[in-house]
């Protein structure tokens, strides 16, 4: 029989090495899958993981792809740390985009510098409002936030669909379900880096995302509010005993993650699309769930996890274009990666011990005491 025995101490280099090994294992397993599917493994892997980074501008695109994942992932980390399972970030993202779009479309001719911050505020409020529904239902009626937040995602998707086909449709769109373009003041401009200039589609949303992740880390590890969040997740009775209100934490983390998802929706539209359309997100709200878990619910690690997952997404596009590999392979890669990362994480924390029938350890060099 195999038992998992907690390791007493783990050297730092092991902690750092394990994700690298997990990624390598993913590459090997992925190569095998390509071989089975009839593609040459090495070129396919190249298209998936190297080609997206072969030019500097591609690195900019990677950051752009990771931007909403990092913002939403940070918010979800708060929720999941508190044992609140917000699965509806996708809906909150859409709500945020609609809220910001409403403001931008109300002032089609404005050149005010306040429009963009105003849209950010609207997006955060709309996303938070969308998340407030599962929060208040949970607090008042003890409903399950997983179901309510998930179902509200479909409501949000239908809402934006109706809006762009109905009340907000651009009369000049030839019947396409699109709103008018936002005024320029409502768009997020490209980021010009010193000495390099523009890097792909890199925009100002990316540094904002990084800042949010760092601030999230600071909040969780250093502030009393973060302590309350962790407490509610680890030991809710202890939280109540300390005098913190579980309801307030429930509402707080849901509003925070809803607000951040809303902000991500606004940034996505203002930086990349410029108008509302039926599909503004590529499932970022759902993918961010994987990101939060890959990051082991640590906001700083969300940055790295966001980039890794974004790479797989980007590589999927490249491979589809150049080698006609179906896009669903991206999903398989995400799954394999998740598997190896979680396995690596488990093996970092626990040591497998083989125990034979008589209860004696058969593994050589196993310390029993």
């Amino acid at each position: 029989m195999i038992f998992l025995q907690p390791r007493t101490s783990v050297p730092l280099y092991v902690t750092l090495l394990v994700p690298v090994i997990s990624v390598l294992a993913t590459l090997i397993a992925g190569g095998l899958i390509f071989a089975v599917l009839g593609y040459a493994p090495l070129p396919a892997l190249y298209e998936f993981f190297i080609a997206p980074l072969s030019r500097p501008d591609q690195f900019g695109n990677l950051l752009v792809k990771a931007c909403p994942l990092i913002i939403i992932g940070t918010g979800l980390v708060f929720c999941y740390r508190a044992n609140i399972w917000n699965i509806g970030a996708e809906g909150q993202l859409i709500a945020g985009a609609v809220g910001a779009g409403g403001l931008a479309l109300s002032f089609p001719d404005t050149t005010s510098v306040f429009l963009l911050p105003g849209m950010a505020v609207c997006a955060i409020l709309s996303g938070a409002l969308w998340a407030a529904i599962p929060a208040l239902c949970k607090v008042w009626f003890r409903t399950n936030e997983i179901l309510v937040s998930l179902m509200l995602t479909y409501v949000a998707a239908l809402l934006i669909d109706w809006i762009v086909r109905g009340p907000w449709r651009d009369p000049m769109s030839f019947g396409f379900p699109l709103t008018p373009y936002y005024p320029d003041a409502g768009l997020i401009s490209a980021l010009h880096l010193p000495f390099i200039g523009r890097l792909g589609q890199l925009h100002w949303g990316v540094p904002v995302a990084l800042l949010i992740a760092v601030a999230g880390y600071f909040f969780l590890s250093r502030m009393l509010g973060g302590f309350q969040v962790k407490l509610m997740g680890d030991a809710p009775r202890a939280g109540t005993f300390a005098g913190f209100s579980p309801n307030r934490v429930t509402i707080g983390v849901l509003l925070a993650s809803g607000g951040l998802a809303g902000l991500a929706g606004m940034i996505e539209v203002s930086a990349n699309i410029g108008q509302l359309q039926p599909n503004i997100s590529f499932g970022y709200g759902f993918t961010a769930i994987i990101v939060a878990f890959l990051a082991r619910l640590n906001p700083l690690a969300v940055i790295v996890a966001g980039l890794v997952v974004a790479l797989a997404e980007l590589g999927g596009d490249t491979a589809q274009i150049s080698m006609a590999i179906p896009k669903v392979v991206t999903g398989i890669f995400k799954g394999i990666l998740l598997f190896f990362l979680l396995a690596g994480e488990t093996l970092t924390r626990f040591q497998p011990v083989w125990v034979d029938q008589t209860g004696k350890f058969s593994k050589k060099g196993q310390k029993t005491i």
């Binding site: 502030m223 407490l231 030991a235 005993f241 300390a242 005098g243 209100s245 209860g359 050589k364 060099g365």
Partner: protein, 538 residues
């Protein structure tokens, strides 16, 4: 390699240890265990245990929580199989592979947690456990006669739900007796009983033994073991450390064998005190919210400066509900119910009550009083976040919480593997010392504590009790809610009893006997009766 040499050492140590001498070699051995070893993963629960039991013998298995008592008897009852070593039953080696086989051999077992269906009658419950079906009328007669024989009359037609815990235990015993066992194993049977019920149980067990049925009695309560049994096998850390004639050892000596270290006695508390009232509760009531809640009915008491008020009672009589009402984790609608000095704190949450220098220590260490996954410093923050310098502008001051945790650990002798380990890395006793120390270091005017020494080793328990006595001596009021009568009597100035959500009038400890407390535990509430009880008990 290290493993192998360690394993050898252990084996060697086991084989050279002298076998305990049976008390009466002439008597035939009913059960012999030889070199029984059982591990769960990497944890060795029983390590080379040798054991003999004579027919008709009252034998105790003594040890602290986690010493391996339950594992050992589960192997006798066939619920577990030893990894190595084995048993001899009536002189023949046996392999007991399941409880059915154990019962067929004549081994019965009554578990700490009963396996009865509340909604069925006594007869129906017993019928379910019989190996073959029996005429219902015959069975009812059998239950009547058999239970009468042993002085524990049972009505076969009463619903189990309507029976007291002690009566339910009798159903379990009678169920075993119907199969004419030669050995009855009782796992911590007195932990759910009042002193009176315990005495009745002991009578039954003695009668059983005199009729030839051996009883293996598992307990960690030394007084009971001395009272009931002639021999005791003492387990410590999974190993059989001693086998003693209970008449030849004092409880103190047995305690030392059980915990493996010398045990200091608590310096006992003073008599009744007449300090000012620091904490009072007037007519606190609470409705039951769930099926397992116990409603509280008009609970009133006052705790004075300089005294320890002990609240005795068996678990499940409203202790959790009372504690959460006192701490403010649960708040009712009424005002003027809970007072700290002259301040009504009824509507305040725990953190606001703490402002009035009242501190709380809930029963459950893991996940209530402390968070195992968090570091000691964070656990210090748990109830210390309102104190000066701990949190500024929402920011937790790392240095402040680290030095607070250090101060608590040093002052209260909390032994840690690291400077600031996760709470889970501490032993139960050390974590409890930390949890108690965390509140006492704040020098509360009032301390309310539930089960302060539950599941901790004797050394830590003595230390914690001494600490509370010193806090009271310094002028604070201490309220101790405990199921441990020994503890209540050791430290309290006054004693009240919580039974079915009602609290008896607190009485000076010197005037209370364990019999009087026992009757109160059994549900006698009228304070008029107390004098007569006292007369009876004294």
């Amino acid at each position: 390699m290290l493993t192998m040499s360690l394993m050898k050492d252990i084996k060697l140590g086991g084989s050279i240890r002298l076998m305990p001498k049976p008390s009466s070699p002439a008597k035939e051995h009913l059960l012999v265990a030889r070199h029984v070893t059982k591990s769960f993963g990497t944890f060795v629960a029983n390590d080379d245990v040798n054991f003999t039991l004579g027919a008709g013998e009252l034998h105790a298995l003594l040890g602290e929580n986690g010493a391996g008592k339950s594992t050992f008897v589960k192997m006798i009852y066939g619920l577990l199989q030893p990894d190595s070593g084995g048993f001899e039953w009536q002189g023949r080696p046996v392999h007991i592979s399941n409880p059915q086989q154990a019962r067929a051999m004549g081994i019965g077992m009554v578990f700490q947690h009963f396996s009865l269906f509340d909604s069925l009658t006594v007869a129906e419950n017993i019928e379910l456990a019989l190996p073959e079906t029996m005429n219902r009328e015959q069975l009812r007669t059998l239950i009547r006669t058999r239970s009468d024989d042993y002085g524990i009359p049972l009505d076969p037609d009463s619903m189990v739900a309507d029976l007291s815990v002690g009566q339910q235990q009798r159903v379990e015993i009678v169920r075993c007796l119907l199969q004419d066992p030669s050995l009855l194993i009782m796992d911590e049977p007195t932990s759910v009983l009042t002193p009176q019920e315990t005495d009745q149980l002991f009578d039954v067990l003695r009668r059983l033994a005199s009729s030839g049925c051996a009883v293996l009695f598992i307990s960690h309560k030394l007084d009971e073991i001395k009272k009931l049994t002639s021999r005791a096998t003492i387990l410590r850390g999974g190993r059989n450390v001693a086998e003693v004639e209970t008449a030849e050892k004092t409880t103190h000596q047995m305690a030392e064998l059980m915990v493996g270290e010398t045990v200091d006695a608590v310096k006992s508390g003073t008599g009744p005190v007449n300090g000012e009232v620091l904490f009072s509760v007037t007519a606190l009531s609470r409705e039951a919210h769930g099926p397992f809640d116990v409603p509280l009915e008009a609970i009133s008491f006052a705790a004075r400066s300089g005294e320890i008020l002990g609240i005795a009672g068996i678990a499940g009589n409203g202790q959790d509900e009372l504690m959460s009402a006192l701490s403010g984790e649960w708040r009712g609608q009424q005002k003027g119910v809970i007072w700290v000095g002259q301040t009504d704190v009824s509507q305040l949450g725990p953190q606001h009550r703490r402002h009035h220098k009242i501190c709380f220590i809930p029963e459950e260490r893991n996940g209530h009083a402390a968070v195992p996954q968090m570091r000691l410093s964070e656990n210090a923050l748990l109830t210390g976040f309102q104190d000066d310098g701990m949190v500024k502008a929402g920011m937790v001051k790392q240095q402040a919480i680290l030095s607070r945790a250090e101060l608590i650990s040093v002052t209260f002798d909390v032994r840690r593997p690291l400077a600031d380990p996760h709470a889970a890395a501490l032993s139960g006793g050390n974590l409890q010392k930390f949890v108690v120390g965390r509140e006492i270091i704040k020098q509360p005017r009032v301390l309310i504590v539930a089960q302060p020494t539950w599941g901790v080793d004797v050394g830590a328990a003595t230390f914690i009790r001494q600490t509370m006595i010193e806090l009271a001596a310094a002028g604070s009021a201490v309220v101790v809610i405990s199921q441990d009568l020994e503890e209540i009597f050791a430290i309290s100035n006054r004693i009240a009893v919580l039974s079915a959500g009602r609290l008896s009038e607190p009485q000076p400890a010197a005037q209370m006997t364990s019999q009087a407390v026992g009757l109160l535990m059994g549900g006698v509430h009228l304070s008029d009766d107390i004098d007569s009880l006292r007369a009876e008990g004294g």
